[in-house]
């Protein structure tokens, strides 16, 4: 058992390492298939795209760590994007106000999710799914299907610059993501809140009996997930300029895949955000490599799924006695 113990501790770090190695390996493969793939500009572009998945994956990591899941990502993200442009009307002057309200909306929806899970005993799958529908309806309804007067507005220039502006030659978005990685990893790894999160994910009952505020922490984690979905929506619309309908849909699957690939255990209690971030990078790199190879749509879907299964089997086998 002692030997297994040492293995176990390394396991989480090992999976993060695998995800990072996978990302690097994919860039190498990409370079072979399509010279220039691993060039600085290309890598920056790919990582920028990955950062949006990474941000949503941060929120997803928080809730998966306690054995939950957030299916409200698509329309919180989309709603946030539309809310930002319609509140700011493309002007910097209104940007702060729009940002605060939008982030507040995300956190608020997340809070409701958390309350449903922690206080009403509704399974996470159900409440977040329902909340996604509610956000979809509200967003479509209030914006008239994105036909309202303000809907075609652009994101405020300050937000666009926050995404695109190069700092030391690297797009600011990447620095933002790096900051998120550092902060989230620190919170999860070194704070009381982070320790409580892992404890709840491992055994909510035992945590409760040790005095951990299980309900409070749960609500907070879902609120954070909503916050990150909204943040991703804000930065995405800063990236693309305008909002569109359906922009959030791909991020649900990708955020869950990134989290799983990064070694976060779907039933909670184990894993790190660094792994999920590496997972986001690998996935995006994978898709880019496939695109560079001119692989058609369907091929990408299939390979995507196969890669995840292979990794799961690899991870699963290490688990030993499951």
């Amino acid at each position: 058992m002692a030997r297994l113990g040492r293995l176990r501790l390394g396991r989480d770090r090992r999976r993060t390492l695998y995800a990072l190695i996978a990302a690097v390996a994919l860039f190498v493969v990409g370079e072979l298939v399509h010279p220039g793939f691993a060039g600085l500009d290309s890598v920056e572009a790919i990582l920028t795209i990955a950062s949006f998945v990474g941000l949503v994956a941060a929120g997803q990591t928080f809730v998966v760590l306690i054995g939950g899941i957030d299916l409200s990502v698509p329309w919180v993200l989309n709603g946030a994007a539309i809310l930002l442009v319609t509140l700011s009307l493309g002007e910097d002057g209104r940007a702060l106000y729009a940002l605060l309200l939008t982030l507040g909306m995300g956190a608020g929806i997340g809070l409701l999710n958390g309350v449903g899970v922690a206080f009403l005993d509704v399974p996470a799958v159900v409440i977040t799914l329902a909340m996604n529908g509610i956000m979809e309806g509200l967003t479509l309804g209030l914006s008239g299907g994105l036909t309202c007067a303000a809907c075609a507005s652009y994101a405020p220039p300050i937000v666009q610059r926050a995404v695109h502006e190069p700092i030391l030659g690297v797009p600011a978005e990447l620095f933002l993501w790096l900051a998120v990685i550092v902060i989230v990893s620190f919170v999860l790894g070194r704070t009381r809140f982070g320790r409580h999160t892992y404890a709840i994910g491992n055994n909510a009952r035992a945590s409760y009996l040790a005095g951990v505020g299980v309900r409070f922490t749960t609500v907070l984690l879902y609120a954070l997930s909503g916050l990150f979905s909204a943040l991703a929506g804000i930065l995405l619309v800063g990236f693309g300029g305008q909002a569109s309908l359906g922009m959030g849909t791909p991020y649900l699957f990708q955020s869950i895949a990134a989290v799983v690939i990064g070694g976060v255990y779907i039933l909670g209690g184990r894993g790190s955000y660094l792994g999920a971030a590496a997972g986001a990078a690998s996935l995006t790199a994978l898709v880019s490599v496939l695109l560079a190879m001119n692989m058609p749509d369907y091929g990408r879907s299939i390979i995507y799924g196969v890669v995840i299964l292979v990794l799961l089997l690899l991870y699963g086998r290490e688990e030993g006695e499951g």
Binding site: I69, I127, L140, F253, D297, Y298, I302
Partner: protein
């Protein structure tokens, strides 16, 4: 046993047990009844008449794919699992049907059988990964969803293909709700399933996997079969979808994953396993369709449709849990 012990516990009549142990089922039927009544009210307001055969037929036909998917999902959820690949299987089987079914009995029967077999095979993949591979259902079926969706697009890159009208008539007769017969058949199969060794095994696995194993139940086999059956029913759903749409679309099945979960939850099937009925899930599928119908006839802005669906789901689940808890506490 001395008399005091005998008097201590009162026996309740079989009927009382039937009621208290099937609360979820009763609730969803109450829900369905309420939805139907509400629908009739709104219909009357708009059309000055009550809904008739046409409305019944189209409601039934439109619900068939979801009902099938919900039955399959029920079996998996009973084992405390989840099948997110349902949408992908429907995509693929829908596409296969649209591409291959020709206007002759041989082709129709043959391809129907083949498509169901494909569904079984896809489900088997899930089952082996979850049962033998001991991987978590959510992530496995999420990955296979992606694979099946890809395969579907490969089979039918653009919406197209055609379903012969006679096939449509056989499955989802546009003039009369004969499709209800298929549902009746499914209900009979479900009742038989529940009274079979396999059914008992599936329920036992969801109750407590460890206890089931200690009782000699073959847990791995049970799980493999559960996911395989889910695949078969999802394939049936794909066939009904093709028949209703009369053409094929490799992405039209995507929404069924989450809808089947909603139907199952509304139907009183417990997501933690071991409790629930496919009959409830079928009713849940109808409730889902009725909500859409009600929203349509109540003249609510269709853009807000999802809002009401989401709100309804939360209220239904919370109310169901509260009622269930109150009833069980009273014993």
């Amino acid at each position: 046993m001395p008399p005091e012990l005998a008097a201590r516990r009162e026996r309740r009549p079989f009927a009382a047990h039937l009621v208290s142990q099937n609360i979820g089922l009763l609730l969803v039927f109450a829900l369905l009844a309420a939805a139907v009544i509400l629908y009739c009210v709104f219909f009357w307001i708009r059309q000055q008449s009550l809904p008739g055969n046409f409305e019944l037929t189209s409601t039934v036909n439109n619900t068939m794919p979801l009902a099938m998917a919900a039955i399959g999902q029920t079996i998996v959820v009973l084992t405390r699992g989840l099948d997110l690949s349902v949408g992908g299987i429907i995509d693929l089987t829908n596409a296969l049907a649209a591409v291959h079914i020709q206007d002759n009995v041989g082709s129709m029967l043959g391809w129907t059988a083949l498509v169901l077999l494909v569904g079984a095979a896809l489900g088997l993949v899930n089952g082996l990964l979850v049962g033998v591979g001991r991987l978590q259902p959510i992530v496995v079926t999420l990955a296979t969803l992606s694979i099946f969706q890809g395969l579907a697009i490969r089979v039918l890159p653009q919406p197209g293909g055609a379903i012969p009208p006679s096939y449509t008539a056989a499955l989802v007769d546009p003039n009369n709700p004969w499709a209800l017969l298929y549902l009746a058949l499914c209900v009979l199969l479900w009742l038989a399933f529940r009274r079979s060794a396999l059914g008992v095994a599936i329920f036992a696995i969801g109750n407590d996997e460890g206890a089931a194993r200690a009782n000699g139940i073959k847990v791995v086999q049970g799980k493999v079969i559960a996911y395989t059956l889910s695949g078969v029913f999802a394939a049936a759903g794909g066939l009904f979808l093709a028949a209703t749409a009369t053409a094929g679309d490799a992405t039209s099945g995507n929404g069924f994953t989450l809808s089947s979960i909603v139907a199952v939850v509304l139907g009183g099937v417990n997501l933690f396993g071991g409790r629930g009925s496919a009959v409830g899930a079928i009713a849940g599928a109808f409730v889902t369709t009725m909500i859409v119908n009600i929203l349509f006839f109540s003249e609510i802005d269709p853009l807000y449709q999802s809002f009401y669906e989401g709100l309804f789901l939360i209220i239904a689940v919370v109310a169901g849990a509260v009622i269930g808890r109150l009833l069980r506490r009273r014993r």
